[in-house]
């Protein structure tokens, strides 16, 4: 088990390194000079050249990479070209908001997916199952931003129930319980939009895994034993079908973090999605590298966690000598 973990960790480090090289190359080989808009157009060319030299623009690419790597390893991702402040500061400020939203979205997704998935599994082949399947496909086909617009129209414009953007009511300065409720009200719509994709995949997963277990070989003896339907489903199948969902969750992390861009833009939710979009558009190299490396790290850790959890959750793998 331990050796398995160690091996996976080393592979993760190598992959991370490889990602940094590839992304660095791609970002820097694009045409266009990100520092172009930093200076006035009528700056004399020799002044312009001096500034760029100081910024290391004329260094050969491998040298630029090595310089970047050296600082990155100490946690210094440099300064954002557009915004001026430290990259680590900018990311640190925003990432909490995205993680919070993603977490809430995940919780809602699971909370809804489990009962619906089970219901579909039990009623497999019947009308209610088909209806649920159609609904699932419907949800997946609607683009996130469109659904967001619908929610906005219904809840913000027509019913005037929920605020249309932001995390908190600007300038109101709520504290304690009121603050929590304020955040909740702002968060409901973006969380729902964000969780749609996840909901569908968890739903289908539970449906098929529970469905498989229901027709598995060990079920008949359970009934023969005299257990009633409820006990069979709840105590045996439910637990076994639901556990692996944790691993799926870990694998969904990167897509949720990146999918948040559109949601965050529409609802002005101050998270990492919007930051990375702006960084990409303005070729803000340092910020872009910082965000990409962070996302890569999170993805790799998520994968690692998924693998580890899966071996814990499913004793068959653990004991089959993979360790």
């Amino acid at each position: 088990m331990f050796r398995y973990l160690l091996k996976r960790l080393m592979i993760a480090v190598v992959v991370l390194f490889g990602i940094s090289v590839i992304v660095f190359a791609i970002v820097h080989l694009q045409p266009g000079n990100p520092y172009a808009s930093m200076l006035d157009p009528d700056t004399p060319p020799d002044v312009r050249e001096e500034v760029m030299r100081k910024l290391g623009y004329y260094d050969p690419l491998p040298l630029q990479y090595v310089k970047w790597l050296g600082r990155a390893l100490t946690g210094d991702f440099g300064y954002s070209i557009q915004l001026g402040s430290k990259v680590s500061f900018l990311i640190g400020q925003r990432i909490g908001n995205t993680v919070f939203l993603a977490l809430v979205a995940a919780v809602i997704a699971i909370a809804l997916a489990v009962p619906f998935g089970f219901y579909a599994a039990i009623r497999q082949g019947k009308v209610s199952d088909t209806v649920l399947t159609v609904v699932n496909f419907g949800i997946v086909s609607i683009p996130g931003f469109f659904f967001a617009m619908i929610l906005l129209k219904v809840f913000s414009i027509d019913l005037r129930l929920l605020p249309s953007s932001g995390i908190v009511t600007a300038g109101a300065g709520y504290v304690g319980g009121q603050a929590i409720l304020d955040i909740l009200r702002h968060m409901i719509m973006p969380a729902i939009v964000l969780m749609l994709g996840e909901f569908v995949s968890y739903n289908r997963y539970i449906r098929s895994s529970a469905g498989n277990l229901l027709s598995a070989g060990f079920v008949a003896p359970l009934f023969a034993k005299g257990l009633n339907r409820r006990k069979v489903i709840f105590s045996h199948i439910f637990k076994n079908a639901a556990k692996p969902i944790i691993t799926i969750l870990c694998l969904q992390i990167p897509s949720v973090l990146s999918g948040a861009v559109i949601t965050e833009t529409i609802f002005s939710w101050p998270g990492i999605g919007l930051l990375s979009y702006n960084a990409a558009i303005s070729r803000d190299y340092p910020l872009l590298m910082g965000i990409v490396m962070m996302l890569a790290l999170v993805t790799l850790l998520g994968n690692l966690l998924a693998d580890v959890l899966y071996t814990i959750v499913d004793p068959r793998i653990r004991l089959s000598g993979k360790a």
Partner: protein, 532 residues
């Protein structure tokens, strides 16, 4: 089975309870973020960068905050004349090389410290400093001793000095009357705050940058990055304490604006789309539209070093062939003005006798014929010495308007026999191409704010820098005349296809006293009130 139903029921009821609770608690207007009668909310379509130093800011969003927190030496009035603000009065020497300002004596910084001439001297000395993390205000480079000080050869900067506690003198190497327009654009920051930070770090010291201390009508309260900036009234403001206690700048995506207006979450916002149905939607939400001539324009720069475009007749033909009024009518729904030079038609120095280049495709064809371009092989495309007249229109994808205007121009040119094609790139790539003097292009869309008294900055894009008469003068009058001559020359040389100067519009709901005019949106912010 019942367990599943139970779980399902619990989830749904929990969600319902949460929503109900969330609605019940809180302020009486259930969704409004405008917390009652003492707050005005202004929408920003993007998050400010948080660079709240009035000399270093780069975006309009930071500018909105800065112009409420800080004050300037002078501002402009509706006739584009300079009026006193922090400066009570000023005098200029005969030769224009010395400008002396007398400052107000009753101004305090938001932290209670007095505003004095030392603050002003510090501002401009810092702008000239070799470590200053940006270009520095242009007029500073015309002051005495700038070169040596900026290169680090001397420790003193004689170009600006304090004659006494409330008098500042600027000494120029060569007179530069345009300094006044830069004074309007860049408010004054405090010496006692910024001298504590090494100049090199001014753009990165977030602590000081994000807690601006100024002399303006509103004090800075809070910056929630990505969400809003909240300001509160300065009761000691020298121009009269603001009537509304809280001014909040909220980041609201332009798609969301209509929802926010209906909801009562915002009072004032910019109009970015003049589509009549969008305007109607704003009106339905209870807002009124305030429209005024804008100060920013869009144009297609022509590469004057391109062999095909070297002949001025060819360039003039390109302007005659562009149906600019039709562009204004269809893309901007008529909410723009035509212009025939890179300057605001409302600018007092904009010559009244410019060639208007009224849409005339026949005249365009005639000019091209005189330049040697005719359709010799009957394929519909003009040619000369075996070369076909191809023309690539390049524009950046950043602006939605550009992508609507470019195809219209393409059609205009194809109608007179030019093989016009479109090329769209992202802004950064376009900018790099234009900055590279070795790269040639045909036509590239650019746009900018036409600042008062700033002429010629955009010639760079047409590779025409220095080709027009220089704009100089010892005082505003002679400077203005020289500027008019320059604009006439540019108009004659047709270095650009000047497209339009778009009107500026605001959506206003529930506010009285909002009185914007070109270059000054927030001048009267201390007089804004909420309608009952």
């Amino acid at each position: 089975m019942r367990a599943v139903k139970k779980a399902f029921a619990t989830v749904i009821s929990a969600a319902l309870i949460c929503t109900a609770a969330a609605c019940g608690v809180g302020d009486p207007n259930a969704t409004g973020s405008t917390g009652g009668g003492d707050t005005i909310t202004y929408a920003l379509s993007q998050n400010p960068n948080g660079i709240f130093n009035p000399s270093l800011y780069g975006t309009d969003y930071d500018r909105a905050i800065i112009f409420n927190v800080y004050s300037r030496l002078v501002h402009v009035d509706k006739n584009q004349e300079f009026q006193p603000e922090l400066a009570e009065s000023w005098t200029q020497s005969e030769d224009g090389k010395t400008v002396t300002f007398k400052l107000r004596q009753d101004v305090k910084w938001h932290d209670g410290e007095p505003f004095t001439a030392d603050d002003v001297v510090y501002n401009y000395t810092a702008n000239a400093d070799p470590d200053y993390p940006s270009g520095g205000q242009k007029f500073v480079s015309y002051l005495k001793g700038y070169k040596d000080f900026h290169e680090g050869k001397t420790k003193d900067f004689p170009g600006v000095k304090a004659l006494d506690k409330y008098t500042v003198e600027f000494d120029f190497e060569t007179p530069y009357p345009a300094m006044f327009s830069q004074l309007v654009d860049y408010p004054i920051f405090a010496k006692h705050i910024w001298e504590k930070v090494p100049i090199k770090q001014w753009k990165t010291d977030v602590d000081v940058l994000r807690k601006p201390v100024g002399t303006g009508p509103y004090k800075f309260k809070e910056f929630a990055d990505g969400q809003y900036v909240s300001l509160e009234a300065n009761p000691d403001y020298f121009g009269g304490a603001p009537k509304i206690k809280n001014l909040i700048f909220k980041v609201i995506n332009s798609e969301n604006l209509q929802a926010a207006l209906t909801n009562g979450e915002v009072n004032i916002a910019d109009v970015s789309d003049w589509n009549p149905s969008q305007i109607q939607a704003y009106k339905d939400a209870g807002a009124e539209i305030v429209q005024l001539p804008g100060s920013g324009g869009s144009y297609m720069g022509l590469d004057t070093t391109n062999p095909r475009l070297k002949d001025v007749k060819v360039r003039q033909a390109l302007v005659y062939a562009a149906d600019r009024q039709s562009i204004i009518d269809s893309v901007l729904y008529g909410h723009a003005k035509a212009t025939n030079a890179i300057a605001n038609p409302e600018d007092p120095n904009y010559p009244k006798d410019l060639n208007e280049y009224k849409y005339d495709p026949e005249k365009a064809k005639e000019l091209l014929k005189e330049a040697g371009w005719t359709d010799t092989d009957g394929d519909g495309i003009l040619d000369k010495d075996g070369e076909k007249f191809t023309f690539k229109i390049e524009y950046s994808t950043n602006s939605k308007l550009n992508s609507l205007v470019a195809p219209i121009l393409q059609k205009n040119y194809q109608a007179i026999g030019i093989d016009a094609s479109l090329a769209s790139v992202d802004f950064n790539s376009l900018l790099s191409k234009l900055l590279d003097e070795n790269q040639q292009f045909d036509g590239a869309f650019m746009g900018s704010t036409y600042r008062l008294l700033q002429y010629g900055a955009n010639d760079f894009w047409s590779h025409w820098t220095g080709q027009g008469p220089a704009v100089t003068g010892t005082d505003l009058k002679s400077f203005g005349e020289s500027a008019s001559n320059y604009l006439r020359a540019q108009n004659e040389a047709a270095t650009n296809v000047w497209l339009y100067v778009a009107d500026k519009g605001f959506v206003v709901k529930g506010v009285d006293g909002f009185d914007p005019y070109p270059y000054e949106t927030f001048l009267t912010s201390n007089q804004w009130t909420l309608k009952k």
